[in-house]
């Protein structure tokens, strides 16, 4: 929202990194592919209203041991 977007939505998430030709770090961090969309606010009023309504809780599970 800091960039002026509203109506943020993740529409799809999937773990599809398995099977890639070379090993990577993706699985250590539980990496998922996602699709997301948003819309640029049409005006300041819309953005202000969206910011006022914003509420988010992000569960965090820090894993220091994931770093080699």
């Amino acid at each position: 929202m800091a960039a002026g977007f509203v109506n943020f939505e993740i529409t799809w998430r999937k773990n599809v990194f398995g099977g890639a030709p070379q090993a990577g770090s993706a699985e250590k961090f539980g990496t998922l592919r996602i699709n997301f969309r948003a819309r640029k606010a049409v005006n300041e009023e819309e953005l202000t209203a969206a910011l006022a309504a914003l509420s988010c809780e992000i569960p965090v599970d820090s894993t220091e041991e994931a770093v080699a």
Binding site: A2, T11, G24
Partner: protein, 205 residues
């Protein structure tokens, strides 16, 4: 107490960009090599790209596809629309857009890797898609006029940017009010320690 707290060195953005550029230059020049991520037609199939989207797209563009999602599943790209593709690579998504928007629409693909842009330009010419243009530049400073676009798409690029706020601010800048953002990318389910964020090989591998 005399010990000084040592500051951790900040991430070297220039080195990060160079590492990313080198990796994706290899995806452009040697797509058959095999990488730590899926590429090409198998990836497009995995991401549910419709066969009809790929019709007429040169194989040189498809083989170097390295996206992470499907921006086209997030909303219809309509005839006549103007679209910016941030981190366009070898152009597969830009060329799909070019087909969708038709002769009254336009697409500008932006990338920082010159060998990818070369592939994209060649593919557009081969496909006869004159409404697609490719420009060299960074996502944090897009070579596109303010308010030009109806839609911004990006696929597998935002995760490679250390300053995501700057990139998203730029995407917002080039969009018209009410314009749409349609992004394929990645997220992590476990927090990445600050020490790991400074390791360039973890950004690219």
């Amino acid at each position: 107490m005399s010990d000084a707290i040592r500051e951790q060195p900040a991430l070297d953005v220039g080195s990060l960009r160079e590492a990313i550029r080198e990796e994706y230059a290899e995806v452009a020049s040697s797509p058959e090599k095999g990488f730590h991520f899926h590429t090409g037609r198998p990836l497009a199939h995995m991401l549910e790209y419709a066969d009809e989207w790929l019709e007429g797209i040169p194989e040189s563009s498809i083989e170097s596809f390295a996206g992470t999602g499907n921006p086209f599943s997030l909303g219809e790209i309509l005839p006549g629309e103007r679209v910016v593709d941030v981190g366009c690579g070898a152009g597969i998504d830009s060329l799909i857009v070019a087909k969708k928007v038709g002769s009254d629409g336009r697409v500008i693909g932006v990338d920082m890797t010159s060998s990818m842009l070369e592939k994209a330009r060649h593919a557009a010419h081969e496909a006869g898609l004159k409404n697609a243009e490719f420009r060299e530049g960074y996502a944090e400073s897009l070579p596109v006029d303010e308010g030009w676009a109806d839609v911004v798409i990006s696929n597998g690029v935002l995760n490679l940017m250390p300053d995501k706020d700057a990139a998203l601010t730029e995407m917002s800048r080039v969009l018209k009010p009410g314009g749409r953002l349609q992004i394929g990318d990645i997220l992590v389910q476990r927090a990445v320690p600050e020490s790991a964020k400074r390791k360039i090989d973890l950004w690219t591998g």
